[in-house]
């Protein structure tokens, strides 16, 4: 069973969000990394780039496949996890910690309400699995 920390918010595209004031840290969920398998490359945006919510901002690659990662919230990238360039496996080993991807200055805090809670995300995973 995938690990889904209670204090985070989630999307149906399997990103997690940690909101702190007007900034948000973003990564992919334990479920997502598990589905992908061993991550061999992570492509991230540069600091200063701006994205709308729902826009792809990077990609995670396994040996077999490329998966895009989507913005849970619109905003400007204020930090990116440079450690993933040398150690993409951090996404597998610690998806909610050292495997974080970007930090964002949130453009519109009302978008936060559109995110899923941990319980809602777990329900969504169950629905997906039963399809």
């Amino acid at each position: 069973m995938a690990n889904t920390p209670e204090e985070l918010s989630y999307t149906k595209d399997h990103e997690w969000v940690r909101v702190k004031g007007d900034s948000a840290t973003i990564g992919i969920t334990d479920h997502a990394q598990n589905q992908l398998g061993d991550v061999v490359y992570v492509e991230l945006p540069k600091v200063g780039e701006k994205f709308e919510s729902g826009e792809p901002f990077g990609s995670v690659e396994s040996v077999k496949a490329v998966s895009e990662i989507y913005m849970p919230l619109g905003g400007e990238v204020t930090e990116m996890n440079a450690a993933l360039a040398d150690s993409p496996e951090l996404v597998n080993e610690d998806p909610y910690g050292k495997g974080w991807m970007i930090e964002l200055k949130i453009a519109d805090s009302s978008e936060i309400d559109g995110l899923l809670s941990a319980a809602e995300y777990e329900d969504y995973l169950k629905e997906e699995a039963s399809e």
Binding site: G37, D38, V40, Y41, E43, V63, K64, V66
Partner: protein, 366 residues
């Protein structure tokens, strides 16, 4: 309706992820592409390749028919010897690549790609009509397992009294595997030593399970299509549909070594002879990415700002820990060391032409 190999239930039972491949429900991975790939390089891997097509050519003109249809020289084969070859059309394009097994002078077994078996069989049958020979699609009569890796012989030997080290590279023998009659061939598609085991579909599950049991403490892993693709790509073995098709010739695909223009007439010979005399305008090359981003199948190849071709196969290479691939380039850009760009989802990334194969094993035979 997707087809299933006789091992489908065995795959599901051990948690394989199943995908649709060329009309078959095939295992793409069990434990994961990286551990499976590494097992093939460092221990052994077991693949179900029962989806491959088999065609029997039987009759007085069997040799004649195979000689006319394929580019390699079938007359060089002894009984129980095999060769890699190409089925070419009149234009010299690659209909399929295949293994030609000579069982005896009047009995050949052709092993072709699953995706092409219907097309190949129709082509072969059409050319057999005027000869004293019968072509039979016997794909359903065979299950095919590939046991690949440096410990393949050690593992298979546990289940056989036949001295396997007496089967040279690209030869086959009738061998009893755990008491079951099989044809064991020292061939494969991974760049490693190993065997392909032809058996009756009803025996496949028994042999599969026994191999996994005796191979377990030797590091043997069941391997899926993902590891099959990455191991073959590291060895720079071509994949039909990616690295060649009816619009490319064997020479362009770097397979000139299996085109024997001097052997006598065969389909496509004139076109290939002309191309050899006139010279190639494009050719497949191996490349390495100079950046960490992997190139994938179909990504555009850019030279001087213009798209000149596409990546035919591209992937991270788990053993080499590089991003590698094959691509067709204009002939003037094919020298080793030549740099070019690959468009990776909108970003141009540098790649460099390198020698192939990317990976070459230490060979016991040669």
């Amino acid at each position: 309706m997707l087809k299933r190999t006789p091992l489908y239930e065995s795959h599901s039972a051990i948690g394989a992820k199943i995908v649709d491949f060329a009309g078959w429900e095939m295992p793409v991975q069990y434990s994961g592409p990286i551990p499976e790939h590494m097992a093939v390089r460092e221990a052994a891997g077991l693949f179900d390749v029962s989806h491959m097509g088999e065609v029997e050519i039987i009759g007085a003109d069997a040799l004649e028919l195979v000689q006319r249809l394929t580019t390699n020289d079938v007359s060089k084969l002894a009984d129980n010897q095999a060769q890699y070859s190409i089925l070419t059309n009149e234009q010299g394009g690659v209909i399929d690549d295949l293994l030609v097994y000579r069982i005896n002078a009047e009995y050949f077994l052709l092993v072709v790609n699953a995706a092409n078996s219907g097309k190949d069989f129709a082509w072969i049958k059409q050319h057999a009509a005027s000869l004293n020979v019968e072509a039979k699609d016997v794909s359903a009569a065979y299950a095919l397992l590939a046991l690949q890796g440096p410990r393949a012989e050690l593992i298979l030997q546990e289940l056989s009294d036949h001295m396997l080290d007496h089967i040279p590279y690209y030869w086959s023998q009738k061998v009893k595997v755990d008491g079951v009659e099989c044809r064991v061939s020292r061939t494969g598609y991974t760049g490693e030593d190993g065997f392909e085991i032809f058996c009756d579909p009803k025996d496949a599950r028994h042999i599969w399970n026994r191999l996994l049991v005796v191979g377990h403490d030797k590091g043997l892993l069941p391997c899926g299509l993902a590891a099959r693709n990455t191991t073959r790509l590291e060895a720079a073995l071509r994949l039909w549909g990616n690295d060649m098709d009816e619009t490319t010739t064997p020479m362009e695909a770097g397979l000139g070594w299996v085109v024997k223009l001097g052997k006598g007439d065969f389909t496509g010979r004139d076109a290939l002879d002309r191309q050899k005399r006139e010279g190639l305008t494009r050719k497949i090359v191996g490349f390495e990415m100079e950046d960490r981003a992997p190139a994938r199948d179909g990504y555009p190849v850019i030279i001087d700002g213009a798209e000149v071709g596409k990546v035919s196969s591209g992937s991270p290479a788990p053993y080499l820990k590089k991003n590698i691939g094959l691509a067709y380039l204009p002939i003037e850009h094919t020298a080793t060391g030549t740099r070019f760009q690959i468009n990776i989802r909108g970003r141009e990334v540098a790649a460099r032409v390198v020698e192939t194969p990317f990976y070459k094993r230490q060979r016991k035979f040669d």
